[in-house]
Symmetry: C2
């Protein structure tokens, strides 16, 4: 099942707020329902949000309340603002609006094209990544990863997890060790669920055990996604990635980044130019509503960290392999 799809005139999504407890599918007939789903993080992940934006415009265009291209454009503003900082959402809305004057069918076709391009990108990243890994390492491999980079963040297959899936399909995978990914536990909640659904052997571990397990030879490579890749290859990703890169270098195992070309930001010279967002104390000092620290405790909560390019074996996109560490 796809994370987000268009079925019989509705947007169908997997409700990620219900995972891993239950698999709930939402069928959204009106744009307001889709906006609610985006706001509540029922759908998340940059590529998936791009598709949501485009499909949301398709919902608007089929709605009798918005009979003209101008009313469609106006209604799309609220959709675009459902998560103002998500650039992919806004990008998806714009892709669909490019053909706003051609009517509802053309808009739907554009939205489906956004979806299909995402699926193709995921497949290509995974296959190219698996080709590279098969070059670097022989036999069945154990792989460590962090956060959720699977179908739930895209439409199908994912980025780093698409590589894992390609290895699995080629019978080149031993097991995945997935980091739980504090504070929001995307690894424990979402990645463990996806791997279980796919029948891929896996175990979970706490984030700080990642480097220790690498040092003891528990995995043969590390594969992560990316939030942003600077021009020199320095890579911003979920906090914890840097510690895995340090350990991988010391252990002499590959550290591979898998991300779409849209993540490569030529305008950012290096990781030093990437500002680290702090998400505030609340996520750290309580967990699912339960306080885990004394009342009033302040926390540092960087959303991501930057792995310098010299620690990265390769960056794999849908169209190329970048080896930032080679001259």
């Amino acid at each position: 099942m796809r994370t987000i799809d268009w079925i019989d005139g509705r947007v169908r999504i997997i409700d990620q707020t219900a995972l891993p407890g239950e698999l709930t599918v939402l069928e959204l007939a009106r744009v307001e329902e889709l906006i609610d789903a985006i706001t509540s993080l029922a759908v998340r992940g940059a590529p998936a949000l791009g598709v949501a934006g485009a499909m949301g415009v398709a919902l608007i265009a089929r709605d009798p309340r918005y009979p003209t291209p101008d009313t469609v454009r106006t209604a799309a503003v609220a959709l675009q603002n459902a998560r103002p900082t998500a650039v992919n959402l806004s990008w998806g809305v714009k892709q669909a609006l490019l053909v706003a004057d051609q009517g509802a069918d053309a808009i739907l076709a554009a939205a489906l094209e956004v979806r299909d391009r995402e699926i193709l990108n995921s497949t290509q990243m995974g296959e190219r990544g698996a080709d590279l890994v098969a070059e670097l390492k022989q036999g069945r491999l154990n792989v460590m990863t962090i956060c959720n980079t699977g179908a739930l963040a895209t439409v199908e297959r994912g980025t780093a997890l698409s590589l894992v899936r390609s290895l699995f399909e080629r019978d080149l995978l031993g097991e995945v060790i997935a980091l739980e990914t504090r504070p929001l536990l995307q690894g424990a909640r979402l990645t463990a669920w996806e791997l279980s659904e796919l029948g891929i052997p896996h175990r979970l571990t706490i984030d700080s055990a990642g480097p220790a397990l690498i040092s003891r030879g528990a995995v043969d490579l590390v594969v992560i996604g990316a939030d942003r890749i600077a021009d020199n290859g320095d890579t911003a990703n979920k906090v914890g990635s840097y510690s895995l890169a340090l350990a991988a270098q010391r252990a002499g195992i590959p550290f591979i980044v898998v991300a779409p070309e849209s993540t490569v930001d030529a305008a950012t010279a290096s990781g030093d130019d990437i500002e680290i967002e702090d998400r505030g104390s609340a996520e750290v000092v309580s967990l699912r509503g339960v306080a885990i620290a004394p009342a009033g405790t302040r926390a540092v909560n960087p959303a991501f960290d930057v792995t310098p390019h010299d620690l990265i074996t390769a960056i794999v996109t849908e169209s190329r392999v970048i080896r930032p560490n080679l001259p």
Copy 2:
């Protein structure tokens, strides 16, 4: 207030299972109550358990149910078995039993001597450590630490946290960044509480942010405790310590281990000879009774990791400074 003490014929402890929610003091008049407190982890930490063992024998010796040295020795077996793998508990019991034939007063004196020696050790580790740090670094310093190595693990002051406290008393401390220390959150629950009680400026962070914050210059040094130190200086400590050592080396900041001489194990040649206990899946896949991963998810859960001696700037004990990285 001391974590464990002898007051008016009773053992008084801070109930660590109630922290950080509330500060509950237990006064234990009978050895059965102390055994319950040890079993439930109301009292924990190797040095504190040593004192508990010795004071438990003092409780037995004053109890009319145990009128002879032989009955005292027999009753002490159950105390010693309250946590069979805690070598310090057993050691404390034995220290008190050495004078079993001399009667209850002599046993109590021996128990108080164990307590006083622990307090002295903590003070000496902290002061010697602060002397070393003042040599290595100028000005007010920000310090990162993991797990709980404070008074709650000892009687007063602690090991690594004793160093922090000595820096604070000398007005050489900026702030402490304490790692939450998954899976059992000793940093979030206990260290944050202790620092708050002492009025020491601190912030909490998730474990995987430690290396990232070190790379961004957030701290000037890392200070940790130790479970076991091999003959070559390789140090086993709470999982996550290794990742901090890797990051400290890359950032060029000191990485200091503070632990009593009893932790130095000359019979273990190197970290390769230290077996890593896996504590099972349950601690990882649920948190305070709330499931955080799909039902049935298996986890890797190493209790500690090993930091190779080449990443360690110095090991500070109550009697010396070891620099394993110097020839």
